[in-house]
């Protein structure tokens, strides 16, 4: 301790000096104002980014999806739920990528080692983490909530990446596909997204990423899902009120690949079996991870794949 306290004030004194020296020593991490510098509005204030960063570290699935959609192969990312690597749906697109932590904790040294010139982080990054990360490279933290338009954070990441054109192109692709799909789906049908837990069902808010897409496709959502404007999903819904989550279509989100197992479990419950969607055999099991919090152009395409099954029915 004696050693440590001795150095403590000097650490802080030096931090500032160091800051400049490190910035100068890392060729790509230039914060200096140049002709092509642009200001990006983040949750932690305005951050200046220059040019089109190529050494990018992404600390959320949303950011990974965006970077890949924009044609940037990130150097590092955090592992996702259920695996020690990246999500299944982007696996064939990432190439070689370093894992720099989990969704819970980022290993700062691993990020440092990659010498990034841009870091894209999730909206809820803690301030203490931000303070460290922003020393390594400009760090972009969107100030969005889960129920905001998903394109908001994606566009922000794209702006920081300097690749708005590419993202616009992917939006266009998406819009075209949505329009085509919408034409094949009878308008005004109610679709609800439900997760089946051991203690009962929870209803996903219709303002989440997946809900936004469903709405664009012309689906309506149950009033209860509509009312969840602040939270991503409801509390455990009483079985007596399960009918409030009923609809023409039911997307049953499961976290494990064996979605059928969860469906079988739910079917055992008389309250579930009574739902119209279930009686009419209009239940579709989907990847809960993708449908509850994933966001990005690639994830959107994946969700549209799921919805296409509705059309096939």
């Amino acid at each position: 301790m004696a050693l440590a306290t001795f150095n403590f004030p000097r650490t802080w004194l030096r931090a500032f000096m160091l800051f400049t020296s490190v910035v100068a020593s890392v060729p790509s991490a230039s914060w200096a104002q140049t002709a092509e510098a642009r200001a990006v509005e983040t949750a932690f204030g305005t951050v200046t980014v220059t040019g089109t960063p190529s050494r990018v570290v992404v600390l959320s699935e949303n950011a990974l999806d965006t970077a890949l959609s924009a044609g940037v192969k990130p150097l590092g990312t955090v592992s996702t739920r259920g695996s020690t690597g990246v999500s299944r749906y982007v696996q064939d697109k990432v190439g070689t990528i370093a894992i720099v932590g989990t969704a819970r904790e980022t290993n700062l040294e691993s990020v440092f080692k990659l010498q990034p010139d841009l870091i894209l982080a999730a909206p809820d990054l803690p301030k203490a983490q931000y303070e460290k990360l922003s020393l390594l490279a400009p760090t972009i933290v969107p100030s969005t909530a889960v129920t905001d338009d998903w394109r908001k954070s994606v566009s922000l990441y794209a702006e920081a990446l300097g690749r708005q054109e590419e993202i616009k192109a992917s939006y266009q692709q998406l819009d075209q596909r949505i329009a085509a799909l919408k034409a094949r789906i009878a308008p005004g049908q109610v679709a609800s997204v439900l997760r089946w837990n051991p203690q009962g069902p929870i209803l996903m808010s219709s303002h989440l990423f997946a809900g936004q897409l469903l709405q664009q496709l012309g689906f309506k959502s149950p009033a209860l899902a509509e009312s969840l404007t602040q939270r991503p999903h409801s509390d455990i819904l009483s079985l007596e009120n399960l009918h409030q989550a009923d609809g023409d279509w039911l997307f049953l989100a499961t976290l494990n690949p064996e979605g059928e197992q969860a469906l079988a479990q739910a079917r055992n419950q008389p309250a579930f079996a009574r739902l119209n969607a279930v009686k009419n055999n209009k239940v579709i099991t989907v990847d809960g991870q993708l449908w509850s919090s994933g966001a990005g152009p690639l994830a959107a395409q994946k969700i549209l794949d799921d919805v296409e099954k509705v059309v096939a029915h």
Partner: protein, 359 residues
């Protein structure tokens, strides 16, 4: 209560102090406990070694000398940045929290005459966790989670103290009430985690297990100041507690104001624990293990406040180093490492017959 601790058979101060030495400075001289001092130096050496290793290792390995040079600002700017910004601050946070928890554990164990009575078990950790988690997942607030962790720890302790109506005999009542309060806060934390989405739950995660990854600097500063102020008081209380180790009547006979001592010890314990959990979150086992190590080295004489601090600092930074490097780049939170190291040890304490004897 059937299992009262057995009384020590020999008094602490004897006529001819065996195991003590006189240190003379001109006209002044101090009577020192040899083993306490030698183990103190041993612990300081261990702490320096662990600190060196910790500063040198990580995703980019450095030689210990490069690392030490970088720590004082010499060498390549990249190395200096890495060591000072990423490693040194984390190390300092670890050393300080370890020391604070070590002292807190030492005091409370001695007060309750039970080595299982650590601040983590009596609800302070749960209170801090509940408040920090609430600030992240339930109640939108501009206050930093660490500030709320501090509030939570104080709230839990205050509740336990108020509800138990004082310390009670040997602080036992306080401890059980603390467990009850902790259970309440634990239920609330679980409820909040179940209600929120996974991403927020992930963000709250370090506060539920205890982690030293990127801790808020202000909280570390606050802890450093608190520790500086608290250590001398702890040392003073430790002396009084040494006498209380015999029995209440003996202690009263020796002129110890029992009630005030108990309350002061509890307050100091809460103070140090609260400051520490505001930095690191719940790492209760440090408070169990550090005094144990200190007592083992010193021998069962007195209340080894300083040595418990040193042992806590060493253990905490060691555990953090292991957690940082073992599964890199996956961070294992220091709280989990401590639990895995400390778990079997805890069981051993629980299961061996001599567990009946109080520390």
């Amino acid at each position: 209560m059937t299992a009262l601790p057995t009384l020590p058979t020999r008094p602490v101060v004897s006529e001819a102090p065996a195991g003590y030495a006189w240190w003379r400075f001109g006209r002044y001289s101090i009577l020192v406990h040899r083993r306490a001092w030698s183990s103190g130096f041993l612990l300081i050496a261990a702490m320096i070694i662990v600190s060196g290793i910790s500063l040198a290792s990580g995703a980019a390995g450095l030689s210990p000398w490069t690392a030490l040079a970088a720590a004082i600002g010499q060498g390549e700017p990249m190395h200096v940045f890495l060591v000072q910004e990423l490693r040194l601050q984390r190390l300092i946070a670890g050393l300080l929290t370890g020391a604070a928890l070590g002292v807190a554990g030492c005091l409370l164990q001695t007060l309750a005459r039970n080595r299982l009575a650590t601040p983590g078990i009596i609800g302070i950790d749960d209170g801090a966790t509940a408040f920090a988690v609430a600030s992240i997942v339930a109640i939108p607030t501009t206050l930093a989670p660490s500030a709320l962790a501090l509030t939570g720890a104080a709230t839990a302790a205050g509740l336990a103290f108020g509800l138990s109506g004082g310390a009670g005999a040997r602080g036992y009542r306080f401890i059980v009430v603390g467990i009850a309060v902790g259970a309440l806060f634990g239920a609330l934390t679980n409820l909040m985690l179940a209600r929120t989405d996974m991403d927020s739950a992930n963000q709250a995660y370090p506060w539920t297990v205890g982690s030293l990854n990127a801790r808020p600097a202000q909280a570390v500063w606050l802890l450093g100041i608190g520790l500086l102020a608290g250590l001398p008081v702890a040392k003073y209380l430790g002396r009084a507690l040494t006498l209380m180790r015999f029995s209440d009547s003996v202690a009263t006979g020796l002129g110890v104001p029992l009630k005030r001592m108990r309350v002061m010890t509890l307050l100091l314990t809460v103070f140090l624990t609260a400051l520490a959990v505001a930095v690191v979150g719940p790492v209760g086992l440090i408070a169990l293990a550090a005094p144990e190590v200190a007592r083992y080295l010193v021998g069962h004489q007195g209340v080894p406040v300083f040595n418990a601090a040193l042992a806590g600092a060493t253990l905490m930074s060691l555990a953090d180093w292991v957690g940082r490097t073992l599964m890199a780049p996956i961070e294992i939170p220091v709280g989990v490492i401590m639990a895995v190291i400390g778990g079997p040890y805890l069981l051993w304490i629980l299961l061996r017959p001599s567990a009946r004897r109080a520390p």
